[in-house]
């Protein structure tokens, strides 16, 4: 997917989120560090453009909730976790990430989120669903479903980290999907 395709997909995802939650009023976006945060920001500006409402947004770093932390050697750098303004209690919280694969990241995010408070409902929004789930987790809103071979991986590029928007299928890198 090139930049234009990503923008189109995100614009549609933003509309679906608003529709599914009957308006943007009670929404709160929670991007998963690091690329989910930028996608959440883009969704936020799309909602603002279409609805004229600024939705509170926050970020979540799931490092401390990973299920494989004891197996991966040197400790990874921990990113910032920022609660959306007004907290998560009684809000329709949307977890936003770049790629949905095994579902383990989302499992960790759900655990962290429930330590934060009690949202009215939680939904999952991802730019790419590549299949290969190891947990019973399904997204509510998807940018694109891509079938990927086991020896391939999906790389999402975002401006802050990679200098551009884009989705590419590449041979498996050394970076495992948590």
């Amino acid at each position: 997917m090139d930049e234009q395709a990503v923008h189109r997909a995100v614009a549609r995802m933003a509309r679906e989120l608003v529709e599914q939650n009957v308006g943007p009023g009670n929404l709160a976006l929670l991007g998963i560090q690091r690329r989910g945060v930028e996608i959440a920001d883009l969704i936020r500006s799309e909602i603002e453009r279409a609805e004229g409402t600024t939705v509170p947004a926050g970020s979540l770093d799931i490092t401390l909730y990973r299920d494989d932390l004891m197996a991966i050697g040197p400790r990874p750098v921990v990113g910032a976790t920022v609660l959306p303004e007004g907290g998560v209690d009684d809000r329709a919280v949307v977890i936003v990430d770049d790629v949905l694969f095994t579902g383990r990241t989302v499992r960790a995010a759900l655990n962290e989120l429930t330590d934060w408070g009690r949202p009215a409902r939680v939904s999952l929004c991802v730019l790419v669903d590549r299949g290969g789930r190891e947990f019973p987790i399904q997204p509510n809103v998807v940018g694109r479903i891509i079938t990927v071979l086991p020896e391939q991986s999906v790389e999402v590029s975002v401006p802050d980290h990679d200098g551009r928007w884009g989705v590419d299928i590449v041979p498996v890198s050394s970076e495992p999907e948590p």
Binding site: Q33, T63, L64, R75, V77, E112, D115, E177
Partner: protein
């Protein structure tokens, strides 16, 4: 997945052996941990199933409680052992105590001990991670780390700042750890105190020596005021507490002469009216309670980073234990 940080190795014995990169890894890791203590549920599962022993052979409230909060907020199981009431009073030596604990399958030991070198001694003999919570007059690394984090919070940097340690440098493990850490991060460091309480040859560490606190205040961005251990007076290092307060005590009148924004730190417990006056300790220059808050975050960072361990050094320590 986030990239791996700089490994610290198996133990944290002191800051003398750490690189600037390793120290910055600890400070940067402490930042996200601050937020956990602000949550309603102040707990993350990262050290779930780890057992940590707090082995305190010397009196301590702040450090022990701070470590215990840090451990509990990372979901570790903790046991506190104080020397009084333990088999230490029956004459058991340090290594035997630790090996017996090891036999109960522990993962980390936090040790406070009156003898310099006790933490390193232990670290070389048991496979668990060892964290020095103060050993004699050697080092107190987590205190210096929380001091540096507080300085960085206030000024946004450490490099290029002028930090003066005031008081009893001779007996202070806090002073030594601060000197090593601050110099590694590119700060300028000075010490200021009565001649009897300055170690000989201190300038060789690369620090400036001030003989008058008024000069130090003119020079410094940060004053880190050390606790005057009252037993020093009986040992003949000082003529009287009253005189110490007059000459070396940090008073409001003295810090009002500072030419710039001056930050005042104190590792606690304070002797109000001796090394620091109440109107300074409770005044706008002091961030003493912020230091305590940061202490928990820094200790969480150290526990988290060490739990990633370095299996090879743990193996080496096991080998050492058989000698």
């Amino acid at each position: 997945m986030n990239e791996p940080g700089t490994p610290l190795g198996k133990d944290l014995v002191g800051l003398e052996s750490l690189s600037a990169e390793q120290i910055l890894t600890i400070l940067n890791t402490a930042e996200p941990f601050k937020e956990i203590s602000e949550r309603r549920i102040k707990k993350v599962p990262v050290l779930r199933g780890n057992t940590i022993v707090n082995l305190f052979f010397e009196a301590s409230t702040r450090t022990r409680v701070s470590f215990e909060f840090a451990e509990k907020r990372l979901s570790a199981d903790t046991v506190n052992i104080a020397s009084s009431g333990s088999s230490v009073v029956k004459g058991e030596n340090l290594v035997d105590t630790a090996r017996n604990l090891e036999a109960m399958r522990i993962d980390m030991v936090v040790i406070r001990h009156g003898s310099s070198g006790a933490a390193k001694f232990l670290a070389e003999r048991i496979p668990s991670n060892v964290i020095n919570a103060g050993d004699g007059s050697h080092e107190h690394p987590t205190q210096a780390l929380l001091d540096m984090l507080t300085i960085r919070d206030h000024f946004g940097k450490i490099e290029g700042l002028r930090v003066c340690l005031v008081g009893d440098i001779l007996h202070s493990r806090v002073a030594r750890s601060n000197i090593f850490g601050l110099l590694a991060l590119g700060a300028e460091v000075a010490v200021c105190g009565p001649k009897t309480l300055l170690p000989l040859g201190i300038a060789e560490l690369g620090v400036t020596v001030f003989s008058r606190i008024e000069e130090a205040i003119q020079w410094a961005d940060v004053l880190n005021v050390l606790r005057l251990q009252l037993e020093r007076m009986e040992a003949g290092f000082l003529p009287s507490l009253r005189e110490y307060n007059q000459v070396w005590g940090v008073s409001r009148a003295k810090i009002e002469q500072a030419p710039k924004d001056l930050l005042v730190l104190h590792p606690g417990p304070m002797n109000r009216g001796v090394e620091i006056d109440s109107d300074v300790a409770d005044g706008p220059h002091a961030m003493i309670l912020q230091q305590v808050t940061n202490g928990v975050a820094v200790r969480m960072a150290v526990l988290y980073l060490l739990s990633g361990g370095a299996p090879d050094t743990a193996e080496a320590a096991k080998g050492g234990a058989e000698v």
